[in-house]
Symmetry: C2
Subunit: 387 residues, 2 copies
């Protein structure tokens, strides 16, 4: 199997992009990724795109053909594949692109992600997102997506003593990081006080514990490692790509405070890379809700189970700490255009490992991990990248 590297990356500004369509976002990020990677359109022989719910958000399926088309690549008849695993659709696109290059079927592949979420009125977006959970056995009985994560949070607090303030610290840290990221949806810092006073969504989660509705797109360009230096002075090697599944519904899990899909994907990824947890310099993890980041750093093996709550409060996961988490601002502050998130994580990692992350640069970053979750952990993707 061939080793695969990223030679370029692009990401649009995340936010409420009222004047831009899904097509506009794809074109914008595609141009950025191509310019950054020094490849011409003619060289591209594969496209993968993560998109959760074009069918509901913009009434458009067949997103692979659409992005090939609006990128001008349909004239070259480039194979273009949409993949979907709810909020993990972007990470999934990255993995499928790696497999396409590793297999030898493709040489220069774009892995992209896009979601245009603001073209619908309120209830439609919430309902579209609920389709990530189990429609028949969760949503039908009234559970919303935040309600499911709220149950995880409540049990985590009960079982491990995680506090309301510790949840808030995750949001505070990620807004701080987002305030230094020019593509971030939210550019303002917040305080624990502000989080605790924000409106309740699903007890104990408040508005400022939740990632927002976001428009955005991101793309990275992959080639076999052995030709990566032809295009880039600083290619980023993909040391591991791992994916795991779990039950769709929370109530079928052995333990809802642990996302077993994350545990298994992490185990596989560290095995592939031949690395230990201490070798990771920074990580982008799936903080769709603040409890998500706390569970993630536990399930990825960076801290003991039950210790995740303390991490932000004690400084471990801040930039300058031992293991900076979500330097981009995470889903919470940078925004969460569902299908794009997994690719944005890779984009942030490319900047960090190149030393191009500006004010939020992690000093001496050599190896980074990205972690993308679908639904409440029905799918998890873990990638390990190094400069």
């Amino acid at each position: 199997m061939r080793s695969v590297s990223i030679i370029g990356a692009g990401c649009t500004r995340f936010g409420e992009r009222w004047e831009d369509s899904l097509r506009d976002l794809v074109v914008e990020t595609g141009i950025m990724a191509l310019e950054d990677s020094n490849v011409s359109g003619e060289e591209i022989d594969g496209l993968y795109v993560g998109n959760m719910s074009g069918g509901r958000f913009v009434e458009q399926e067949h997103i692979g053909a659409l992005i090939s088309d609006c990128a001008g690549l349909s004239r070259l008849h480039v194979p273009s594949t949409r993949v979907e695993a709810a909020c993990a659709s972007g990470g999934l696109a990255l993995r499928q692109a790696v497999l396409a290059v590793a297999s030898g079927y493709s040489d220069v592949v774009i892995a992209a992600g896009v979601e245009k979420m603001t073209d619908v009125t309120g209830g439609v977006a919430a309902d579209a997102l609920a389709a990530a959970a189990d429609r028949e056995w969760e949503c039908f009985f009234g559970a919303t997506f935040p309600a499911l994560y709220a149950m995880i949070a409540r049990l985590h607090m009960h079982r491990y003593g995680t506090t309301r303030e510790e949840l808030a610290q995750v949001a505070v840290k990620n807004h701080h990081n987002g305030s230094m990221n020019p593509i971030s949806q939210y550019q303002m810092e917040i305080t624990v006080e502000k989080v605790l006073r924000s409106p309740l969504v699903a007890d104990p989660l408040r508005v400022l514990d939740c990632s927002p509705i976001t428009d955005g797109a991101a793309a990275v360009v992959l080639v076999p490692t052995k030709i990566a230096h032809k295009y880039s002075d600083a290619p980023i090697k993909i040391l591991a790509t791992a994916q795991a599944s779990d039950t769709l519904a929370l109530h079928d899990r052995r333990n809802i405070t642990t996302l077993d899909a994350t545990v298994h994907a992490a185990k596989k990824a560290f095995g592939q890379a031949g690395l230990e947890r201490k070798d990771i310099d920074l990580a982008e993890v799936h903080d769709a809700f603040t409890i998500g980041e706390i569970a993630a750093i536990e399930d990825l093996g960076f801290v003991e189970k039950g210790e995740g709550g303390k991490a932000a409060e004690e400084g471990l996961t801040w930039i300058g700490g031992k293991l900076p988490i979500n330097t981009s601002g995470g889903l919470k502050a940078c925004g969460h255009p569902v299908g794009a998130t997994g690719i944005k994580q890779a984009y942030e990692m490319v900047l960090q490992l190149r030393g191009e992350a500006g004010k939020r640069q992690v000093e001496g970053a050599k190896v980074g991990l990205t972690h993308n979750v679908g639904g409440c952990g029905g799918t998890a993707l873990v990638h390990i990248l190094s400069r």
Copy 2:
């Protein structure tokens, strides 16, 4: 890159399966495929599923996790990936599964397809299907999906003298084949007269020119060719997997009577397989509408451009003819559960190449081709299989 073979296959009965949910269909076909391939659940290390529009048809996304879950594989945390390319979602799942095995990342992979289409009322299904076309530049202006294919048919008739009766002959042949297929949605034969008197949908296409709304699921099991004989006495080798894209909207094409995505995918597939058109013993092609089969056999290179209309009328494409097409009954008679169709084509080919197709068996079939189209040709997949 590793050679890949199919060791087993399963397919549900296609039709209006009012009493079965998407889950039920997946479980039914999964059990059939596993029993047929002599693998145990524990050996499976990858799942791919083609599904066009779970979000619209059953309000459920995250279909990869769902099928892993209801197949009992989430306990093993098997990676499970949904892919989508409208009506080509099944063929796309097959190709991604081939890549996963070829890459070395997976050894025993299920490629499945499923669509549950009858849980919605009339307009919703038509609108969900229209999402395969260009929502902004075709559907918004009133084009339905049959209307787009009707334009292809009208120009084909004008340019090449293809007749209304020749279109009807495709339906007559495919219903004849379907009448011999136990899984087929329609078990009755029809006549040219009946097609010509059926209600007009979009001139010149009538109801009996169109594939139906169908519930169904199909699955095949893939392994590296070198271990295929461990599981099966008659493994089916995948000689080629090719995918191509084209513009999403018809009006952007150089010529709407030719699906360039089919032309390019076929060229790549024959190149990979090192075969010529005359080496193909039978094919399953994408007859979502009767004109689709006519264009397909031209664009695949089996007959000259413009000569496709005569093929069914002159007997070429009937069982017993020189190149039997759609022995399963095709999308027209066997049914078209969108995401499952591409896998059902592979299932039919497995039966034919094993000599297990009963009354519709093509004598001495050794090499077969499957052709699956998304939308009006925005995506095309071609696979070549041999015993």
